[in-house]
């Protein structure tokens, strides 16, 4: 159990971020993250080592999130107050500040809250299979093979979906990318 605690501590931020981008409701994202770790613990004996552990973990979390989204119906996880709701809270702001201090980047530092809201909204408007690929690539910085391992898709499909998702986001955020 202690070893599993170490695994949770190592990957919880990445899993939580991915789930949070897929499901903008923070409470639901927390629950799904916990559920993903518990399920990983239950299925730990099924992990054969053919893939990296974190891709296996991501796959569990991604499947849980997609299943939850489908169970919740066709309703999107669209917050009434916008994606900045969870980012606007005091704790989130503190968390974001810590993350910024950890990974300070010039573009990130320069991005205004409005731009973040628009990017998050555009991302949220994508279909979940496109959104997941973009998140795994551009935010989690996985390569195509890892994305294919997480999503269970062929690499060619990952490549196609990623390109189409980026083109869609470029069209939505045309004023920001020009």
């Amino acid at each position: 159990m202690r070893a599993f605690g170490l695994l949770v501590a190592k990957y919880q931020d990445r899993i939580f971020n991915m789930v949070l981008r897929m499901c903008p409701q923070r409470a639901v994202a927390e629950e799904l993250t916990q559920e993903a770790f518990l399920k990983a613990l239950q299925r730990l004996n099924q992990f054969r080592g053919h893939s990296k552990f974190y891709t296996w973990l991501f796959r569990i979390a991604a499947n849980l999130t997609i299943s939850h989204g489908r169970r919740a119906g066709r309703v999107r996880f669209q917050s009434l107050t916008g994606p900045e709701e969870f980012e606007g809270s005091q704790a989130d702001r503190l968390t974001a500040a810590q993350a910024a201090r950890r990974q300070p980047g010039p573009q990130e530092a320069a991005m205004s809250a409005e731009n973040r809201r628009r990017i998050a909204q555009a991302l949220d408007e994508l279909d979940e299979e496109f959104r997941l690929v973009v998140i795994l690539r551009d935010m989690e910085e996985m390569d195509y093979a890892e994305i294919a391992a997480v999503t269970g898709l062929p690499v060619g499909t990952v490549k196609s979906r990623l390109h189409r998702a980026r083109c869609a986001l470029r069209d939505k955020l045309r004023d920001l990318v020009t």
């Binding site: 919880q12 899993i15 518990l38 704790a91 993350a99 990130e108 973040r116 490549k159 990623l162 390109h163």
Partner: protein, 592 residues
């Protein structure tokens, strides 16, 4: 896909470094040569940078602890479940699922039976434990059974003469008959009967006689009846359909003549619908049925529930429908009149049950022959008792039957009603003095009176204070009956007991016959009361005598015989049956 489109497709992969070296070189050359592609590439790169620049959110610091706590709980639960050998409450889930399935199935069957009762198979598929060798059913029943539920043993529109003999009062057609009546009838099963119960006679075509026989062996009795019908040249109806369960009601046989149709209604009830060519056939069959009925070792008395009959005064002469209050008043008058006329209140279910327990054969016979069920206080004189039996001139049975046949041929119903104002409606105002002769003599005399008046009085059901009018009645008949109830022209005013009368071609009987306190109807009434009050097997005697008379001469050619299962489970009742049949045999011998 053109080369340029392929380049466009590979722009993201080129940006991510996922292309091969050769393909990367091709894309780079294309970008150098095509500014549009280069601009598109810049746009995709900008999107990637925007997404990468989004702030990361750290997981809540308690998330790890929560996960570990839940993991520990889950492991503990798993261990305890493994120790128990199964998941907690799993059997309850299975049990709940099974219960829900059972409830859903039951509700579905009930709804199906309620909505489509004619589709519910009740024919030969229903096996009776009492019929080890069920007789083949004629007609549709032979070819798979019919689910006719028309019959019954007395309902709103059927009239019971107290011994299971009923005449329908209203023709609603078999199409109107639904399984609902049948199911309601199940609650009216006689005591001691098991299984399917009795389907009540709720709707009978007008003018149709219904004979009810209670038998411990329905199949055997059915064979007896079918043999009887065959002997009388009444053949079974052969249904063309060969489907196992035709969801159609039994065919109306009226008008076809000399046919019968037998079908099983429930496991405990078989009904035989007969359409004879002549009323005489019906009379012969009824006589034979009476014989068959007396052979049964079970009580033949109609249960109180079956004695429920329609009690509705006829339309008024002015054509106005009687009000509900008038109907109630009429019923009250009838009840009071009956009590006055017989010196005793009309029997109720309670008295019925009471008498049923206390009855014995002699008392029953005495009541049957006496004044409407009044308690026997000593020797009674049939010549002086309230029934007026002694005033009747004895007639032989042969004379009666000849005259009845002659009348039946020459007496169209209705037009001569004015000749018989008041009809045979009679009353018994006072209880007669103590009888001086044995009851059987009085009964014999009464039987002669019944036979004598059979063609004028059609149905009397004093046990429920109901007067039934022969089918084919006309307005004049109603008028007379109405007058009989309330007094007036042609009616005997303020009679104690109102009895339906049928207008007859024969001149009205002598005043001595129709005056208060005498007349065959009173005897018939007394028998009915005795039958109901006794309620036991001895009532067979009285009912058998009453049963013989009512429809003689009536132009009725349709009849339904309902065979109801009634078990011989009560030794006391069996003894009573034996005693009653023994008494009946003695009396029959004396009558001969």
């Amino acid at each position: 896909m053109s080369n340029r489109e392929k380049i466009q497709y590979d722009l993201s992969a080129y940006l991510d470094g996922e292309l091969t070296a050769e393909r990367t070189q091709q894309v780079r050359q294309a970008l150098d040569q095509d500014p549009a592609l280069s601009a598109e590439m810049d746009g995709i790169r900008a999107v990637r940078d925007l997404l990468a620049a989004l702030p990361r959110t750290r997981a809540p610091h308690e998330l790890a602890d929560s996960v570990l706590r839940r993991a520990e709980r889950a492991s503990l639960v798993e261990v305890s479940s493994a120790a128990a050998g199964r998941r907690p409450f799993q059997w309850m889930r299975y049990l709940a699922a099974a219960a829900m399935l059972a409830v859903a199935t039951t509700l579905g069957v009930m709804m199906y039976a309620e909505l489509w009762p004619e589709d519910v198979p009740t024919g030969p598929a229903v096996s009776s434990a009492r019929d080890e060798t069920p007789a083949p059913l004629s007609g549709a029943a032979k070819t798979g059974g019919d689910t006719d539920k028309t019959g019954h043993a007395a309902g709103k529109n059927g009239r019971n003469t107290g011994a299971g003999v009923m005449i329908a009062s209203k023709d609603r057609g078999e199409e109107d008959l639904s399984g609902r009546a049948a199911r309601y009838g199940k609650g009216m099963a006689p005591k001691g009967a098991r299984g399917g119960g009795i389907v009540r006679l709720g709707n009978l075509p007008e003018g149709e006689i219904n004979e009810v026989i209670y038998t411990p062996a329905v199949a055997h009795t059915q064979r007896q009846i079918e043999k009887l019908l065959t002997r009388n040249a009444i053949q079974p109806v052969v249904m063309a359909s060969t489907s196992p369960a035709p969801a159609k009601p039994a065919p109306r046989l009226r008008g076809r003549g000399n046919h019968y149709h037998a079908f099983r209604v429930t496991a405990d009830q078989v009904r035989i619908r007969i359409d004879a060519a002549t009323p005489e056939q019906i009379e012969r069959i009824r006589a034979e049925i009476e014989r068959i009925r007396t052979q049964q070792r079970v009580c033949q008395v109609a249960i109180p529930g079956e004695a429920i009959a329609l009690h509705r005064p006829p339309d008024r002469p002015d054509g106005r429908e009687p009000a509900r209050s008038e109907i109630a008043d009429e019923e009250k008058k009838l009840a009071e009149g009956h009590g006055q006329g017989t010196g005793q209140k009309a029997p109720t279910d309670e008295t019925f049950e009471h008498a049923k327990v206390k009855s014995d054969g002699d008392a029953a016979v005495g009541k049957a022959a006496g004044s409407g069920g009044a308690k026997r206080t000593g020797p009674q004189d049939p010549a002086a008792d309230g029934t007026g039996a002694g005033r009747m001139k004895p007639k032989t049975r042969q004379e009666d039957s000849e005259r009845r046949r002659a009348k039946g041929q020459a007496a169209p119903a209705g037009p001569d009603s004015a000749n018989a104002p008041g009809g045979r409606a009679v009353a018994q105002d006072k209880p007669g003095p103590a009888r001086k002769e044995p009851d059987r003599i009085a009964e014999r005399t009464a039987q002669q009176q019944i036979d004598d008046s059979a063609d004028s009085v059609e149905q009397v059901d004093v046990g429920t204070n109901v007067a039934a009018v022969r089918p084919g009645r006309d307005a004049a008949g109603f008028k007379d009956l109405w007058a009989g109830f309330f007094g007036g022209e042609g009616g005997a005013a303020k009679r104690g007991v109102a009895v339906a009368a049928k207008p007859v071609t024969r001149p009205a009987k002598a005043p001595a016959q129709s005056g208060p306190g005498d007349g065959p109807v009173d005897m018939q009434e007394g028998q009915a009361i005795a039958a109901r009050q006794v309620g036991g097997p001895t009532s067979q005697v009285a009912q058998g005598r009453q049963r013989r008379a009512p429809l003689a001469g009536a132009n009725v050619r349709a009849m339904v015989i309902t065979l109801n299962f009634r078990p011989v489970t009560d030794d006391t009742m069996r003894g009573q049956v034996d005693a009653a049949q023994k008494d009946a045999a003695v009396q029959n011998k004396a009558l001969k």
